[in-house]
């Protein structure tokens, strides 16, 4: 056999290495391994050889063919990797160009506080009750043990609306009328909170708004005590404000609770903050709600919701909550 396989392999190897792309490599594949290739032609000539030499030459041809295949495959992998690199490079993006600040919206800071309180009390076993913002005089005052002409009505600067009989219908001055509505519709035991919007005839300033929000809690069950009230408020204080906050009760006056108290919270720095009012549900209120005060007892407490939002975020002016400036709203 006069074929110099070594030389052929060397020449082919150089050609393969020079193949510039997959098309050129495909052409080489045909040229080196196809029907008209040197190795295919040589295999056809094997039949003319005697058996020993045929075996030896066949083996050499197989090796050469395998070597060529290996070279072609190696180059193919190389070229494919190169082409992928080029293709991906062409897809390069500057992601910072593409950051358009797409954003989620923002819940109002009052809503955030409202929902946080709901979640906390739901966790403590309470349901959430609601009532109308325009109320009748009975639910807002009468049923809450403020008889007509009662001096404590002066504690509330009430806004009335022109509806029904004069002074019969008003913008609720507190969330407490929902206590009565819950008693009217549900059987005890009652463990409910009542967040809501309330109204007073107050000129807007840094700490007053004619519209603001309160949250109220009502518990009515058998054998509920003032100690239960104090313990519940302490649990709430720690859960909402965090470890290091405690609470205390001071005697106060509300017509719809007795004994009545203010509840204060003590910050970790030792300072006290007056948070809200509370007390044992007055027997007259239980009766107004259709319950027998000898059978059922209960407590209620309530406080301003907006103020908690202000405190959490260090906002010093209540009016900001209702101005709806987007630069304010989008911070929370």
């Amino acid at each position: 056999m006069d074929l110099d396989l070594d030389q052929h392999l060397a020449d082919a190897s150089a050609l393969i290495a020079e193949a510039a792309d997959l098309d050129a490599l495909g052409a080489l594949d045909t040229e080196l391994l196809g029907r008209k290739s040197v190795v295919t032609e040589a295999r056809r000539g094997l039949g003319d050889l005697d058996p020993d030499r045929r075996r030896e030459a066949g083996s050499r041809l197989n090796d050469a063919r395998a070597a060529l295949e290996g070279l072609l495959e190696g180059r193919r992998v190389e070229l494919e990797a190169g082409e992928r690199t080029v293709r991906l490079e062409a897809e390069r993006m500057d992601l910072t160009e593409l950051d358009r600040g797409r954003r989620l919206g923002h819940r109002h800071v009052v809503t955030q506080t409202w929902e946080r309180l709901e979640d906390l009390f739901v966790g403590m076993g309470y349901t959430v009750a609601e009532g109308p913002e325009i109320e009748d005089e009975w639910h807002n005052f009468g049923a809450l043990n403020f008889p007509p002409g009662h001096p404590a009505r002066d504690m509330y600067d009430t806004l009335y609306v022109d509806y029904g009989d004069p002074l019969s219908t008003l913008l609720r001055t507190h969330t407490s009328p929902v206590q009565i509505r819950v008693m009217e519709t549900e059987e005890p035991p009652i463990y409910s909170i009542m967040p809501g919007r309330v109204f007073r005839s107050d000129t807007a300033d840094a700490t007053h708004m004619p519209v603001f929000h309160q949250i109220e809690a009502l518990v009515i069950d058998r054998d509920i005590t003032f100690g239960d009230l104090a313990g519940t408020l302490e649990a709430f204080t720690t859960a909402y404000f965090g470890a290091g906050f405690t609470s205390r009760l001071r005697p106060s006056y509300f017509p719809f609770t007795e004994p009545s108290a203010e509840f204060d919270i003590r910050r970790p720095d030792g300072s006290w903050l007056e948070l809200g009012g509370c007390g044992m549900v007055h027997p007259n209120v239980l009766r107004a709600g259709g319950l027998d005060p000898e059978e059922w007892s209960g407590f209620a407490f309530g406080f301003g919701l907006d103020r908690l939002a202000l405190m959490r975020h260090g906002i010093d002016d209540l009016r900001e909550l209702f101005r709806n400036d987007h630069r304010f709203l989008s911070q929370f």
Binding site: V128, T169, P251, S252
Partner: protein
């Protein structure tokens, strides 16, 4: 109510530093708003005599005062007040003196002129609230005398207490002292006035007739003779000043002093001027008039109580203000001293109607002590004795109706059941004793008599509160109720959160405008002007309750646009208030969602709606072109869910935007959440995902513009039948080759069976049905 520590100590040996006493008072429900040391820090302030007054050459608001501070030399001081005259004695804060507020007095130039000290106003030395002028001292004092000596001011502590409306007894120094002494376990006593009685018996000189016993529970009168008007002694004037009342003259001051000390207001009449020397206590006749002490003639109504003389001429408005005709003056010698108990509601109504609220009416309104008059009369006479006034024997004491005070059964078990305490019957009695609630054992329980000065306490629960107060709220052990209930949000509350979450996810910010509108806001927004009005609004801009969220959000957009904040996407969830269609006790109050997309159009608003419908799984909805006042007439649709109208989507009418100064197009969505969340929505039955291949058909139709895409869609759905897995409108095209007034609507329909692969024949069949249905029922044709 302000009280001085020295005054409290006249009733009980009260111990403790001011801060501790403040805590104790707050713990009794007498919330201390401030604690102020007075009569301290006055070292360095001396009496000075004004020698001369000169204008400042370079300042109008300052004058130059030469004073003698005790060494006979003229000392130059600059002063911003002009109320003194040459010869006056005034307080001078000398150089180096540190004022009660911490300011140190130094020699300094004021507009070029030296000032060698500071002349003081009452407020600067802790005497009253008057900061307008310099304190001009009464009497004669040697210049250089320390001010504290001239004013007879010892060191004292002033507590300012917020008294709750149920505690009229604490509107007196004695009442505060009683509570505090009880807390400290200190003995409390009301001092017995030392006063001799002389002259003609009052009962022979006066008569009283109560014509309206519901108005007047008690009308007690005594007579003082030899009354002369003069200045009060300094110590008394100081106390009045400290408690916020201006000293006037000996009689008025003693009246105020007794009221502050014992809580009993009084009124004095010049006996010589009182026709018939008799009092008739009755209601006024409508139209009756009286000239009151302040010189104003006031018209009365039958709501006002009055005191009339024997000729039935009105000489005073009950509990509110006396009349000019019997006013005591320089020529007065004998005085009729009235101490009454008035019906609280009557006084409150009268004082409010006349706009005459005073320290006296405040006490009558809350409920004064009907039984303190005897003591208070003698205290009055005692305090006035130094002026030469003497108390005549006898008291004309007419009684009307005062509240019945029944003995109350206080059950030991009930006390502990309400409070969560473990107090014994006897311990409860011991707690009540010091505040003069007399408790007598009745089996395991107590019969309790309430003192006359506690009108608030009428039932067992009132007494339980007193037990808690005296025991100490903070000593009651804290427990938690043992409830078997689980907490949860209602379905509605969960849905409301879903609505908000969907809006947040769409990048919208929640706003919270106030629900008050100005008159005209609703009309500007294209809405009916039938908002419920506020009877007593603070300002006209807040006199209408919103019947829609639209005006509030448009105002919010305008506000933000005026601050160069454009392109905002906002939403609000809130109540609207409407007159109901049929009569009902309360207005029709509903919760709404409103969305405003500034700078975006109706298509974006539809996108917000469809996302909301998806979030709530309200899948069965339809958009029906609609014309709604205030919304864009050609870009608005009514939203129906399950056939029920729930709101509108589209854009705000450009004219409305102009009226609200909103400079951009506004995509709009408003949904009645009460209705939407009331129609069936949410979980739908599970459908197993088919494992067989699906096949798609694309169909494009030319359709008249008058035919909504939803009509074509509905037609296709009906024709496609149960095998339809999905249908979507993927392209809308207007222009050639599509004819004028028509557009091309291209739909993709995906078909799939749960149990087999669909055959080519089935697909050809359903395709034909779909085309025939659309072409057959609508002005539409399949595009080639």
């Amino acid at each position: 109510m302000k009280v001085l520590l020295s005054w409290l100590r006249e009733f009980a040996p009260i111990e403790g530093d001011p801060a501790d006493l403040g805590e104790q008072l707050s713990g009794l429900g007498l919330a201390v708003e401030s604690i102020k040391p007075i009569g301290e820090g006055l070292g360095g302030i001396v009496v000075a005599r004004v020698l001369g007054l000169r204008p400042h050459p370079d300042a109008d608001r300052i004058q130059i005062v030469d004073v003698d501070a005790g060494d006979g030399e003229a000392l130059q001081v600059c002063c911003g007040a002009f109320n003194m005259s040459v010869g006056d004695l005034v307080p001078l804060a000398t150089l180096g003196c540190v004022m009660p507020d911490g300011m140190e007095i130094a020699r300094r130039r004021m507009r070029g002129e030296w000032s060698n000290g500071m002349l003081c106003s009452p407020v600067e030395i802790g005497l009253g609230d008057d900061g307008e002028g310099i304190l001009v001292l009464d009497g004669d004092h040697a210049p250089g005398l320390p001010l504290a000596e001239a004013l007879e001011m010892g060191a004292d502590v002033l507590f300012d207490i917020e008294v709750n409306p149920n505690r009229p007894d604490a509107m007196s120094v004695a009442g505060v002292a009683r509570d505090l002494a009880a807390r400290q376990g200190a003995p409390f006593s009301l001092p017995e006035p030392a006063v001799a009685e002389t002259g003609l018996d009052a009962t022979d000189r006066l008569s009283v007739e109560i014509l309206d016993p519901d108005l007047c529970g008690r009308f007690a009168v005594r007579v003082l003779d030899g009354v002369g008007i003069q200045a009060s002694p300094r110590w008394l004037a100081n106390r009045l000043t400290a408690l916020g009342m201006r000293p006037i003259n000996s009689v008025v001051d003693v009246s105020n002093y007794v009221m502050l000390e014992l809580g009993q207001p009084s009124h004095t009449y010049d006996l010589a001027k009182l026709a018939g020397a008799g009092f008739r206590v009755r209601r006024a006749v409508d139209g009756e008039t009286i000239e009151t002490l302040d010189g104003v003639t006031r018209a009365l109504t039958s709501a006002d109580g009055v005191v009339a003389d024997s000729d039935d001429m009105v000489v005073g408005i009950a509990g509110v203000m006396g009349g000019a005709s019997t006013e005591i003056g320089g020529d007065t010698t004998s005085v009729a001293l009235e101490m009454a108990w008035w019906d609280p509601a009557s006084i409150a109504a009268s004082a409010r109607r006349l706009g005459l609220r005073s320290e006296a009416s405040a006490r009558f309104e809350k409920g004064a002590d009907p039984e303190v008059a005897d003591l208070a009369m003698r205290r009055f006479a005692e305090l006035l004795a130094d002026t030469g006034a003497t108390l005549a024997p006898g008291m004309v004491d007419a009684r009307g109706n005062t509240p019945e005070r029944e003995t109350i059964l206080v059950r030991t078990g009930r006390v502990n059941g309400i409070l969560g305490t473990d107090l014994t019957r006897d311990r409860i009695g011991e707690l009540l004793g010091p505040i003069e609630f007399t408790a007598v054992p009745n089996g395991d329980d107590l019969d309790v008599d309430i003192p006359s000065f506690r009108p608030d306490s009428t039932t067992e629960i009132d007494v339980i509160e007193e037990v808690a107060r005296m025991h100490g709220y903070t000593r009651i052990a804290r427990t938690r109720p043992r409830s078997m209930l689980t907490g949860a949000l209602s379905r509605r509350q969960v849905d409301r959160r879903t609505v908000r979450t969907a809006m947040i996810g769409l990048g919208l910010d929640e706003v919270m405008p106030v629900p008050f509108l100005a008159p005209g806001d609703l009309e500007r927004a294209g809405l009916d002007a039938d908002g419920i009005t506020v009877t007593n609004p603070l300002v006209a801009e807040e006199s209408v309750m919103r019947s829609s969220l639209r005006p509030g959000i448009l105002k919010t957009l305008a506000y933000n646009a005026s601050h160069r904040l454009a392109g905002l996407g906002l939403f609000e969830v809130g109540h609207v208030y409407r007159h109901p269609e049929a009569s009902q006790p309360l207005p029709d109050e509903r919760e709404y969602l409103a969305v405003a997309l500034a700078g975006r159009d109706a298509g974006d608003a539809v996108g917000v709606w469809s996302a909301l419908a998806d979030a709530l799984a309200a899948r069965d909805y339809a958009l029906v072109a609609d014309v709604v006042a205030g919304l864009h007439p050609t870009r608005t649709a009514r939203i129906e869910v399950g056939g029920v109208p729930v709101g509108h989507v589209g854009e705000v009418d450009p004219g409305v935007l102009d009226a609200f100064d909103v400079p951009e197009r506004v995509g709009w969505l408003e949904v009645d959440l009460d209705t939407l969340l009331g129609v069936p929505h949410g979980d739908t039955p599970y459908q197993q995902v088919s494992r067989y291949p699906s096949s798609d058909i694309d169909l494009a139709f030319e359709v008249d513009d008058a035919v909504p895409a939803s009509a074509v869609e509905r037609c296709l759905r009906e024709a496609a039948g149960d095998l339809l897995a999905r249908l979507s409108l993927f392209d809308v095209f207007r222009g050639a080759p599509v004819g004028d007034g028509r557009r091309s609507l291209a739909f993709t329909l995906r078909f799939q069976a749960a149990d087999r692969t669909l055959t080519d024949a089935e697909m050809a069949d359903v395709r034909r049905r779909c085309i025939d249905a659309v072409e057959g029922s609508l002005p539409a044709s399949l595009r080639a």
